[in-house]
């Protein structure tokens, strides 16, 4: 559950090749919608932007003052990182980086600074660099619970389950509840899904903080979805969101569940007001497509240009989403497969397996699914959503 970008799953749409004329029309529609250009607003009072807390120019000088004192810089950087998570706004990671900058350039970097830097790197999917920081922090402070937790998370996303379990084990000493959550979230991916699900259900809730409780619900929801128990999954996700409405990860996971159940209307309801966030907008677009909603003509070019900008920048934080966008919305299985393959090099979560399997099948390139199948054989990751693609590609 401590994942970096939301899990993308969903019912396979449009697996088969489509008529050329439809594709051409889609292409023309997208090209037409993208053209707008600069203009002079007629109204002086037109609001162009809302400035979030901590992002005004006036905050720059206080930031600089904070950066001079480590005990102030650390919580401020932490505030920005949590803002980045709550709003899915990557700019806040840059602000955090700016606050930490004067402390990270020093010969002996404070372990707490390293852990925060590792978190920033993790959020940008620079997993290897994040591990370097974490290992350095843990050498200086071997009992840093946060560092072990972040390390477990990064390793889990990379699919290095054995090492992730070691990190979870180290956490257990500091907090048995969190350690257990950590461990079961890894075991669930490593051939023990049913057992992990049962273990998490019997985990005594009193020992957990609110945040950890939300994590447990969300993890249970995902595991139930992987087991194919959709109604239980929906129940867990809803419990989690009642406790932590800002949990964007769980919201997207829930949206995927609704989409896979063929409930696009409920998906739009769940994601109302979240359209400015790319992963949410992707689910909104897929729901609009299923509904034949004309607003798709707005969300689709928005997503296309967001992915284009990301690519231009040479970063791929949303490669998984991009692959799914190309497959489900743009219906370009070959391009989707390329994106899914690039994504596969970076992360190995069930959603990454699924998008690779789906794209390979849609592009009629069964050999391209080989790495994912190999992976599933080796690691025994269970997920009912894999079944249709595995059976047919055998």
């Amino acid at each position: 559950m401590p994942d970096l970008i939301p899990t993308g799953t969903g019912r396979p749409l449009f697996e088969r090749g489509r008529p050329a004329c439809v594709a051409l029309l889609c292409f023309l529609a997208t090209a037409g919608a993208a053209a707008a250009g600069p203009y002079v607003p007629a109204d002086e009072n037109l609001v162009l932007a809302h400035v979030p807390a901590g992002a005004a120019h006036s905050s720059v000088s206080s930031r600089q003052q904070a950066a001079a004192r480590l005990d102030v810089a650390l919580p401020l950087a932490q505030f920005y990182i949590s803002q980045a998570r709550a709003t899915s706004d990557l700019r806040f990671l840059g602000y955090a980086e700016a606050v930490l900058r004067s402390w990270s350039g020093q010969p002996s970097v404070d372990p707490a600074v390293r852990v925060l830097q590792a978190t920033i790197l993790q959020s940008r999917h620079q997993f290897a660099a994040s591990l370097v920081e974490l290992d350095a922090a843990l050498r200086a402070r071997p009992d840093d619970a946060q560092a072990w937790l972040t390390r477990a998370t990064v390793l889990r996303v990379m699919g290095r389950y054995d090492e992730a379990l070691v990190s979870c084990e180290r956490l257990r000493a500091a907090d048995p509840g969190i350690g257990e959550l950590c461990k079961q979230s890894v075991r669930a991916l490593n051939g023990h899904l049913r057992l992990a699900y049962e273990a998490l259900q019997s985990l005594p809730r009193e020992e957990l903080t609110n945040a950890a409780r939300a994590w447990r619900y969300s993890e249970l929801g995902e595991q139930a979805a992987r087991l194919g128990d959709d109604s239980a999954a929906a129940g867990w996700f809803e419990k989690c969101l009642r406790l932590a409405p800002d949990d964007l990860y769980t919201r997207t996971a829930y949206a995927d569940l609704l989409l896979s159940e063929g409930r696009p209307g409920a998906t739009l309801e769940l994601l109302k007001g979240y359209g400015s966030m790319e992963p949410m907008l992707l689910r909104i677009a897929i729901a609009q497509l299923q509904l034949g909603d004309p607003r798709l003509s707005q969300s689709r070019p928005l997503l296309a240009s967001a992915f284009a900008v990301e690519e231009e920048r040479g970063e791929a934080v949303h490669r998984r989403e991009q692959a799914r966008f190309l497959l489900d919305v743009e219906r370009q299985p070959f391009a989707a497969l390329l994106a899914a393959q690039q994504n596969w090099r970076v992360q190995r979560e069930p959603a990454d397996v699924l998008i690779l399997l789906r794209a390979a099948q849609a592009a009629h390139q069964p050999a391209a699914a080989q790495p994912a199948q190999q992976w599933l054989t080796t690691h025994r990751t269970e997920d009912v959503r894999f079944a249709p693609y595995l059976a047919r590609s055998q």
Binding site: I5, L48, H50, E97, Q146, T209, A211, V309, R313
Partner: protein, 372 residues
């Protein structure tokens, strides 16, 4: 706060771990080089402009068009400090026009038209970009630099603020040359396309009369026959190659590869047991359509460069034609010279074709029926 308590503060964040974030902060710098002048625009997110210079005069957390417009001189002054152009060691004089608003995927942007005049015609352009570096080190400038038909893109900012660009470089044509080469290489290494074409061309120097092959008497009909087949094949595969490479149409690779093998079997068997003798160009066209999909598989792997998609596609196609023409030019004069010999009429054409058909049949079985 104890360390564990501090840890738990972040657990929530990790648990929710939704760093699915919005796109990071970008500025968009578009430049057109004409001689010694640069024209173009810089676009900065209104939010970033606020962070850089403070535009929200009344501090209500909202930036209005009026507030942005009245901060224009300060914005220009700020950008002058953080964006510099230099040619031959001399700064180019940078000026801004009045700003406008551009709506982008992550919000409204301030669009600043700019011109810069350098001392002399620009051959190499140095660009320094460190906008927002003090407050958001993850900010980057996305450059699109155009000089005639040559378009370059680059990411500015970060640890290396100065970057140098060769303005008269012909990277677009260099890319095209690579695709041309790839086209030639592909037709030579993928022997199945050549075998198909050769099967159709081998009898082009002969005539079918009374159930036997006879040499053509003059060069002209042979040439016409060769040109017809090659042209039909070329037109057909160009159509489907383009459609597939531009993502308009796709066929499953197993299907195309199997049918390509089958096409060779059919074309070669037609030389052993002739059925179609006068209209081989039609076979070339019909199966050429499928061979085009085969060619496209390479392009899908290579991808097409965004600045020069069409040019690279044309270059790749030309490469295929060049490679195929080279083989035709090497083989057909020899076939023409040998056309009167029995060894050609009764040996090369039927037995060579039979060998090709056998080989292609093996391919067909492999591609169509064996697991991949």
């Amino acid at each position: 706060m104890s360390r564990i308590a501090a840890a738990l503060v972040l657990v929530g964040a990790l648990a929710t771990a939704s760093a699915q974030a919005h796109i990071a902060s970008n500025g968009f710098l578009n430049l057109d080089v004409h001689g010694r002048s640069l024209t173009g625009s810089l676009e900065l997110a209104v939010r970033d402009v606020e962070l850089a210079i403070g535009v929200d005069a009344n501090g209500d957390g909202k930036v209005t068009w009026g507030e942005l417009r009245s901060s224009q001189p300060r914005l220009a002054a700020y950008v002058l400090q953080h964006l510099r152009f230099r040619s031959k060691g001399q700064d180019c004089a940078l000026r801004f026009g009045s700003s406008q608003v551009d709506a982008r995927v992550d919000g409204n942007y301030a669009w600043l038209p700019l011109t810069a005049l350098c001392a002399s015609s620009v051959r190499e352009l140095d660009i320094r970009y460190d906008v927002l570096d003090d407050s958001d080190p993850s900010h980057r400038g996305l450059l699109k630099l155009t000089a005639g038909t040559n378009v370059q893109t680059a990411v500015l900012g970060g640890s290396n603020p100065w970057l140098t660009f060769a303005v008269d470089g012909s990277s677009r044509w260099r890319a095209a040359a690579q695709y041309l080469q790839a086209g030639v290489w592909h037709i030579w290494s993928g022997i199945d396309h050549l075998l198909f074409l050769l099967s159709l061309l081998l009898p082009a120097v002969l005539l079918r009369r009374n159930g036997r092959w006879e040499p053509v008497s003059r060069g002209r009909p042979a040439l016409v026959s060769i040109v017809k087949v090659v042209t039909a094949f070329t037109i057909a595969h160009s159509i489907t190659l383009s459609l597939a490479a531009l993502n308009v149409l796709h066929l499953p690779s197993r299907l195309t590869e199997s049918v390509i093998a089958a096409s060779i079997v059919i074309a070669a068997l037609n030389n052993v047991f002739p059925v179609v003798t006068e209209t081989r160009a039609r076979i070339a066209f019909a199966f050429g359509l499928l061979h085009g999909f085969g060619f496209a598989s390479v392009l899908v792997d290579m991808g097409l460069p965004s600045g020069a998609r069409l040019l690279s596609l044309v270059a790749f196609n030309c490469g295929i034609e060049v490679g195929q023409l080279a083989v035709v030019l090497a083989v057909m004069p020899l076939a023409y010279a040998l056309r009167g010999q029995l060894v050609y009429q009764r040996g090369v054409v039927p037995w060579g074709s039979a060998a090709i058909a056998t080989l292609a049949l093996v391919w067909f079985i492999q591609r169509a029926f064996l697991p991949l």
